[in-house]
Structure formats: structure tokens, C-alpha cells
């Protein structure tokens, strides 16, 4: 069997007395959508932050394509093809939507030690950026500062920025959170259409979205994976039903 694109092996993260990631192992294959679900405070974002390098694990390994990336800084991991979106959007208030995506295109094109040319007038940056924005239906919003965008549009912009980086593995931290029903459906459809172009680790509370997108689901409770399997397997798993899915309608 082919080695997975991402392999997490015995990952441990403690915050003081709290073990937020408790000896977690999971993997994501090339092109696969692996959903990571679990109740609030289960440690999902903490896992993502360790994958990107914002948090340093207390133990375990993270292998991307067979290389241990635990020692690498955030930007170096990104350059290896790891992109993310944030649960709470992280954008530059005064920059337009176009400038955000263009900056990602720029970062992908190599170093930015270019001091003279006008970046905003550079077709090599704005061309691809406009194309990506229009794919998200954000073309008419391109020249607005993000401060003037709706919450849903900002969530979409986060994803557009991530896609502009042409990732091999995309980490999405609750892309539907706070979206209306129509926006959510649009987001699911978009992700559906991109499926297979890159591997996806999807953290999401919206179960309909998870069930329609995921190839595999892992359930995280208290930092520990209590179950992992196909959509059908997870839906049928009694432990999962008690710990998580059953919460509302048991």
C-alpha cells in the first residue's frame, strides 16, 4: 500500500494539567477527505495547530510524505504544500479580497524581496487571483476591503486564499461555522467539486456536510480518537452515538 500523505503518530499536547491531544494517531491519504469531528473542546483545533506548526507537540511525530515536519516553522510547512483555514478568520482588515488572494499567489511564486514594481498592477498576481475569486462568486467583491465583507464572504475568502496556494493537503477548521443554510450548501458544493485535487482534513460540526463530503471520519473526544471509519461505520458506532452524535437526539 502507498504511504499516506499525512501520518500523525502518537501525538501528545498538554496545556498544564490538561491533555488536549492524547496519543493521537491518524492518517490522510492522497486525495482523501478525512473528517475530524468531536464535541467542543475535544482538541480539534489543537491538532490542526500542531500540524501547521503554530503549536509544538509534547510528543509524537507528524510525517508529511514520509518526512517528520515537527521541527519545521509554519511557513516552511506551508511551502511543502500544507495550507489551512482558520476557525476564526484571520485576514488583513485594510486589504481587499483581491489583495489577499494575490498575496497568496505571490507567496507561491517565490520570495517577495522585490522592492520596486507595483504589486497591485502586476497581472501575474492579480490575474490568477481574480480567477480564483470568481470561482467563489466573489468577483464583484474583489476590490472591497475585507472589513466590508460579510462573515460568509470572509469564510469563503479564507478558502480562496488557501486554494491560491495550490496545496497538497488542506486543513479546514470549521469552514461552515456561522454560515447560513444557503452559504453552507454552496460551500459543500464547492468542496465537492474540488474533491480529489488535494487531500483534506476537515474539522466541522455540520454533520450533513461531513457525511456528504468525507471518505473517512475520526471522532475525537478529550483529545483521544474514540473511533475511525467510513461514514456508515461511524453512523453505526454505538460509542460514537453516546459520546457525540447522540448528544441532541438520544
Amino acid at each position: 500500500m502507498k504511504a499516506p500523505l499525512l501520518r500523525i503518530d502518537g501525538l501528545v499536547k498538554r496545556f498544564g494539567g490538561l491533555t488536549a491531544t492524547d496519543c493521537l494517531s491518524l492518517d490522510v491519504a492522497e486525495g482523501e477527505v478525512h473528517a475530524l469531528i468531536g464535541p467542543n473542546g475535544a482538541g480539534k483545533t489543537t491538532v490542526i495547530n500542531q500540524l501547521t506548526g503554530e503549536l509544538h507537540p509534547d510528543g509524537g511525530r507528524i510525517l508529511l510524505d514520509g518526512t517528520d515536519i515537527v521541527g519545521l516553522p509554519v511557513h516552511a510547512r506551508v511551502r511543502m504544500g500544507l495550507a489551512r483555514t482558520f476557525q476564526i478568520v484571520q485576514l488583513m482588515g485594510s486589504y481587499t479580497a483581491l489583495e489577499h488572494v494575490a498575496l497568496a499567489v505571490q507567496a507561491n511564486a517565490g520570495h517577495s524581496f522585490r522592492f520596486i514594481g507595483d504589486a497591485r498592477a502586476d497581472e501575474r498576481l492579480t490575474g490568477p487571483a481574480r480567477e480564483i475569486l470568481s470561482r467563489f462568486g466573489l468577483a464583484t467583491r474583489a476590490d472591497r476591503p475585507v472589513a466590508a465583507l460579510s462573515h460568509g464572504e470572509r469564510k469563503q475568502l479564507e478558502l480562496a486564499v488557501a486554494l491560491a496556494m495550490k496545496p497538497r493537503l488542506l486543513l479546514l477548521d470549521e469552514p461552515m461555522a456561522g454560515l447560513g443554510a444557503a452559504e453552507s450548501a454552496q460551500m459543500v458544493e464547492l468542496l465537492q467539486s474540488l474533491k480529489g485535487q488535494f487531500a483534506l482534513l476537515l474539522v466541522e460540526h455540520d454533520m450533513d456536510a461531513v457525511f456528504s463530503l468525507a471518505d473517512r471520519i475520526s471522532v475525537l473526544v478529550g483529545g483521544r480518537a474514540i473511533a475511525s471509519g467510513s461514514v456508515a461505520e461511524i453512523q453505526a458506532d454505538p460509542a460514537v452515538r453516546i459520546a457525540y452524535l447522540g448528544e441532541g437526539d438520544a
Binding site: V78, Q90, L103, Q106, A107, F113, F115, G117, D122
Partner: protein, 331 residues
């Protein structure tokens, strides 16, 4: 909101007007029989360069450096020390001779300002927030005390530069000639900052100021871009310091004192941090206030504080905000 073309044309017109004003100023000063104005504005332009260089890190990059005067002082001492060695024909570091040549001394001042910024920035930029403010301050004060202790170069008393540097056949002693030399360099430096602000590097720098987490997440190593901005700023301060040494024909450790760093910060904030011409307005504004108030009362500093606070509180974007308000550009 007016279309970008109109705003661009208006901005070009305003810049052109400013340049014509500055070019005509020494002649107008002679005509109006206030020749000292030329020297006063020379001083403003030198400070404008220093403040513009600080604005690069403080305004565009969001790094609150409280030790910027260190690089300004180093630029000044570069000119001063080179001059002293040329005058006494004493070798410097056992090999190099001093120089009185503007075209040698000034590049040395710029490069040394940049090198000092490279060393200090490489260490200080590993921290952020209050720690960064304190570390930059500490480094600058270290340099201040180093130059206080260098008795050979005048120590506390500073170093007199008997003659201004030599540039081609120009009469640098003439206030008007020297003014135009400074104006040319100031114009070039502001043009440089303008290009940087809109460049790929400038986009990264502005993004770092607003959200460095986002910048790292798109694969850009924040540290090296901050350091590059810090070095460019150090070079600009070195340029300003070298010009000051020529202007005042005197350098002293006071050029590096933390109060000088504070003064530069006030200019940037007063003028409008992160705007192109803010540092020019800020330098002109602060020097004007100082001049007017000190002619009026001995306790001028007592009045300066509240005035600065009022301007900063009531005009978002400092004096640039005020200028924009009057020119009807409400953004």
C-alpha cells in the same frame, strides 16, 4: 468616493505642488528677507528622512522600535569620525584613511546604519510587543553609552566637524546649496519609500503589520521580511544622521539618546503613521511647534505635550489626516 484616476491625478498634483514649493522656498526666503528659513527647512527635511525611515518599520511594518536614533547617531558619527581622521591624517583601524568626500562618507553612513540595524534587528525581532520596545531601547542606550565613553571622539562633548563634506565643486557652506543637496536626497528617499510601499515587499510588510499569523499561514517567513525592513530603515536613518553631521557640523551621543528616538516616534505619529508624507508633515510640524513655542515661552515643552495629544486624539491619521480633511479627501 472619487474614481482612482481622479485621486491619482490629484495626488500627483499635490506632490508636484509640494515639490515646486520646496524648490522655490530658499528664493522666497531671500525675497521676504527671512533667509534663516532655508536653514530651518533643511533641518525639517533631514528629520523628515529620519522619521520616514522609522515610519517604514513603525508605520508600515507595525514594529514599535524605540531605538531608532541609534542608527541616526551612527550615520552622524560615520561622517564625523571619517572627517576627524582625514583632518589629522590618522589611519582608521590601522589601514583606512578618513575622508571629507560626501560621496564616500555618506554611503559609509548609510551602510553602517544598515549594518547596525542588521545586528540589533536580528536579535530584537525574535521578540514582539513590549519586549521588542524594551530591547530596541536597550540597544540604542548601549550605543549611546559606548559613544559617551569614546573619549578619543569627544565622548560626552561630541565631535566637531569643522567643514562640511566636499561634493563636486559645490559650495556646501552656502545654506542654499546645502539645502538643495538635502532636498534632492529627501525627494529620492521619499520616492524610494513610495515604490517600496506598493511593491511585493511592501504588500508583505503591510500584511505582517495587520496579521502576522495569516502571513505565516500563506507560507511567508515573517522574520526575514521584518529584518529586511528594519535594515532598510537603519540605512535611511544613517543617511539622515550623515546629513545632520554635515548640517550642524557637530555630532554627539545625544543623537542616539532615547529622547531622540522618542522625538522621531512623535514625528511619525504626529504626521500619521503608515502614510507616505506623514513623516514630512510630522517633522515640519514638530519643529515648527518647537520653534514657535520656544520663542514665546521658556517652558515650551509644558505646552507642547497637550498640543500633540490634542492633534493625535482629534485627527485620526495625525497631520496627514488633517491635510486630507482640508483637501476634501475623506477616507
Amino acid at each position: 468616493m472619487s474614481p482612482p484616476q481622479a485621486t491619482g491625478a490629484r495626488a500627483a498634483l499635490a506632490i508636484g505642488g509640494l515639490l515646486v514649493f520646496l524648490l522655490a522656498l530658499p528664493f522666497a526666503a531671500d525675497l521676504l528677507d527671512v533667509p534663516a528659513t532655508t536653514s530651518l527647512v533643511t533641518r525639517m527635511l533631514i528629520y523628515a528622512i529620519a522619521a520616514a525611515s522609522l515610519n517604514l518599520v513603525l508605520g508600515f511594518g507595525g514594529m514599535i522600535s524605540f531605538g531608532h536614533a541609534a542608527f541616526y547617531g551612527i550615520g552622524g558619527y560615520a561622517v564625523g569620525i571619517l572627517f576627524q581622521h582625514a583632518r589629522l591624517s590618522e589611519p582608521l583601524f590601522g589601514m583606512m584613511l578618513g575622508t571629507e568626500q560626501f560621496l564616500i562618507a555618506m554611503p559609509v553612513a548609510i551602510v553602517l546604519g544598515g549594518l547596525a540595524a542588521l545586528v540589533i534587528g536580528a536579535l530584537a525581532l525574535r521578540t514582539t510587543g513590549v519586549q521588542f520596545i524594551m530591547i530596541t531601547l536597550a540597544f540604542a542606550q548601549m550605543l549611546y553609552f559606548l559613544f559617551v565613553s569614546l573619549k578619543y571622539y569627544g565622548g560626552d562633548d561630541g565631535l566637531v566637524v569643522r567643514r562640511r563634506n566636499v561634493l563636486f565643486g559645490l559650495d556646501m557652506r552656502d545654506a542654499k546649496t546645502f539645502y538643495f543637496v538635502v532636498l534632492a536626497l529627501a525627494a529620492a528617499y521619499f520616492a524610494f519609500i513610495w515604490r517600496i510601499a506598493g511593491s511585493r515587499f511592501g504588500m508583505v510588510l503591510g500584511a505582517i503589520r495587520q496579521n502576522d499569523r495569516r502571513v505565516a499561514a500563506i507560507g511567508i517567513g515573517v522574520y526575514r521580511y521584518k529584518l529586511a525592513a528594519f535594515v532598510l530603515a537603519g540605512m535611511g536613518a544613517g543617511l539622515a544622521g550623515g546629513l545632520w553631521a554635515n548640517y550642524a557640523r557637530f555630532v554627539s551621543p545625544d543623537m542616539m539618546h532615547w529622547t531622540k528616538s522618542g522625538e522621531l516616534m512623535v514625528m511619525v505619529i504626529l504626521g500619521g503613521a503608515g502614510t507616505l508624507f506623514g513623516p514630512l508633515f510630522g517633522a515640519a510640524g514638530l519643529i515648527t511647534l518647537e520653534t514657535v513655542l520656544s520663542a514665546w515661552t521658556e517652558r515650551w515643552q509644558f505646552f507642547l505635550g497637550p498640543i500633540l495629544i490634542l492633534i493625535i486624539l482629534f485627527f485620526r491619521g495625525g497631520l496627514s489626516g488633517l491635510v486630507a480633511l482640508f483637501s476634501g479627501r475623506n477616507r
